[in-house]
């Protein structure tokens, strides 16, 4: 039994697919990153956010314990422009797929340095971006719709070669961890039914995060809608761990079971993702959290199996065999 389960575990991480979904994550998240670093530049905040305190930086870290990048390049990094420039350049390289793996790794290491220098300016979404980029650095995300693809295959879109699917599946696990933990961590009574589901109302009254003045939502039916939004958020986050089950149902589509058949027939992963898209567009419309909703939405491409994409996206017919020898060609 253990041997059989281990074999299935190995097979799950040995699946192969084309790199379109991973390339979508790369491009969408890369665009969010480039927009964010360009914003820092246009706001004139480079020395303040990335520079040494002696040159106007806000860091409380430098001078106490020097991060490795500063130990290696103290003078070059002092005013922050080199660090910011390298992060922006890495973001652009990731987006266009130019030396993609190197760009992913460079971005993660430099961004981690910045997290040490000025931790209050390093937000949750920055960690999510680093987590995802670290996974994508091990993937073939740069072999589709990229400069690297043009160099290697002669085509910008790549040659539809089969690549390991495990990085995409690992990003699915990352999404599940984020949402499940976000749900479990919501211990504030306002998230609970016995707290009146007033969390969303309270958040929208917080001037630090609200996009505008939302005093009017104390009136009905708006207040009721915020209560519904709170309840749906909790239910959706708590249920996100079921996404793993939905994926397992897909892996084992040839096995019997009504629930499995239902999940595969109605593609529940896309229904789950649709709720998430609405959730994050709502956040973008009502809260001022910068690139958070957009970078999160970029990760949603991980729920898409490349075979589910229409031919006009992938630019060709389905690959002959998405997994190694022995795999059934089509689902039953």
């Amino acid at each position: 039994m253990i041997s059989r389960r281990w074999q299935r575990w190995v097979q799950i991480w040995d699946l192969k697919e084309t790199g379109h979904a991973m390339a979508m994550i790369r491009i969408a998240m890369g665009l969010a990153v480039v927009f964010d670093y360009a914003t820092v530049g246009t706001l004139g905040l480079v020395p303040q956010l990335y520079g040494d305190a002696s040159l106007g930086g806000w860091s409380g870290y430098l001078g106490r314990r020097t991060p490795p990048a500063w130990a290696l390049l103290p003078d070059a990094l002092a005013d922050g422009w080199l660090l910011w420039g390298m992060l922006l350049a890495a973001g652009i390289c990731i987006t266009i797929g130019f030396y993609t793996r190197t760009a992913f790794l460079l971005f993660v290491l430099l961004s981690a340095q910045h997290a040490q220098i000025l931790s209050p300016a390093d937000r949750g979404i920055d960690t999510i971006i680093r987590n995802v980029f670290l996974i994508l650095a091990c993937s073939g995300a740069g072999l589709v719709w990229s400069v690297d693809a043009k160099w290697i295959t002669g085509k910008w879109a790549g040659d539809n070669r089969l690549l390991p699917a495990w990085p995409r599946h690992l990003i699915v696990c990352q999404l599940v961890l984020i949402y499940t933990l976000a749900g479990i961590s919501k211990f504030g009574i306002q998230w609970m039914p016995w707290g009146g589901h007033t969390a969303l109302y309270t958040i929208l009254q917080d001037p630090a995060v609200a996009f505008a003045n939302f005093d009017w939502i104390e009136n009905q039916p708006w207040f009721f809608f915020t209560q519904v939004g709170t309840a749906v958020t909790m239910a959706w986050e708590w249920s996100s761990s079921l996404l793993l089950l939905v994926f397992y149902f897909r892996f084992s589509a040839e096995q019997p079971g009504k629930l499995r058949a239902f999940s595969n027939r109605y593609r529940l992963q896309y229904i789950w993702a649709s709720v998430g898209v609405i959730f994050h567009i709502g956040i973008a419309a009502m809260m001022q959290l910068g690139i958070f909703p957009w970078a999160m939405l970029a990760t949603y491409f991980c729920v898409i199996h490349p075979d589910d994409l229409p031919a006009w996206v992938t630019g060709s017919a389905k690959p002959a065999s998405p997994v190694p020898a022995g795999r059934p060609q089509t689902a039953p």
């Binding site: 905040l45 106007g56 961590s185 309270t202 001037p207 630090a208 595969n264 022995g326 689902a331």
Partner: protein, 231 residues
């Protein structure tokens, strides 16, 4: 229309390559370590933490709810138990994640996802005032106020918000540096100003149907004189 999946189904083969087995084992280790890191980082709920009005209000709501469900602890007893449980949970988590922290620090990766875990009913609002001789103090920025919106796009930027939104009663080094920079920008824009004040005003959010609480308290205030800023 056929809705069944066309790819991503496990093969029926019974043997895998050694490379695939090693990869699967490594991924298993990575996933296990990430789940350990994901154990919610519960902060000890001490008497000192409960001095914050938001935390105390939250604690009282939980105590009221649990009392209604049959709990017979007094508020003090409840706080004592809360302290014991949360301190214990915090210590256990700290011990579990300790071996993984160096890697997390180098790569800037972790798995703590307490997004709006306990929305505060006592949020703060950033305000900036300038003082001009003979004119007294006047606002130049107040969050979400179109009448006072100088440098609004800078203050709203997510990384900048991270500095002032998490501000403690006693401003730390980054917040002090931020306030000095704001002052320098304001002095440049207002040549007659001789002082700049950066304030975090604490508000109290009440629910619909509850009486409004108009009280606003200054949680943090940093005043910078023009002669403190290097030309």
């Amino acid at each position: 229309m056929q809705h069944l999946p066309t790819g991503g189904i496990l093969p029926t083969v019974t043997h895998s390559t050694p490379q695939a087995q090693i990869r699967a084992a490594l991924i298993g280790i990575v996933l296990f370590s990430q789940v350990i890191l994901a154990i919610p980082a519960i902060q000890p709920v001490t008497e000192q933490k409960l001095r914050s009005p938001g935390a105390r209000a939250e604690m009282r709501m939980w105590h009221r709810f649990l009392t209604n469900t049959g709990l017979s602890w007094t508020e003090d007893e409840f706080v004592e138990h809360l302290d014991t449980v949360t301190t214990g949970a915090h210590s256990m988590r700290s011990a579990a994640v300790a071996p993984l922290l160096p890697m997390g620090r180098w790569l800037g990766v972790h798995q703590s996802w307490g997004l709006f875990a306990a929305p505060t009913t006592f949020p703060t609002r950033l305000e900036v005032e300038i003082h001009e001789p003979g004119g007294g103090w006047r606002h130049v920025y107040r969050r979400l106020d179109d009448d006072y919106d100088e440098m609004a796009s800078v203050f709203a930027y997510r990384r900048v918000r991270g500095l002032h939104d998490s501000a403690q009663h006693k401003p730390g080094k980054p917040l002090r540096a931020f306030c000095n920079w704001v002052a320098a920008e304001m002095f440049a824009a207002h040549p007659n100003a001789n002082r700049v004040s950066v304030k975090m005003i604490q508000l109290h959010i009440t629910l619909p149907g509850e009486p409004k609480d108009p009280k606003q308290t200054t949680r943090t205030r940093v005043v910078v004189q023009r002669d403190e800023i290097a030309p």
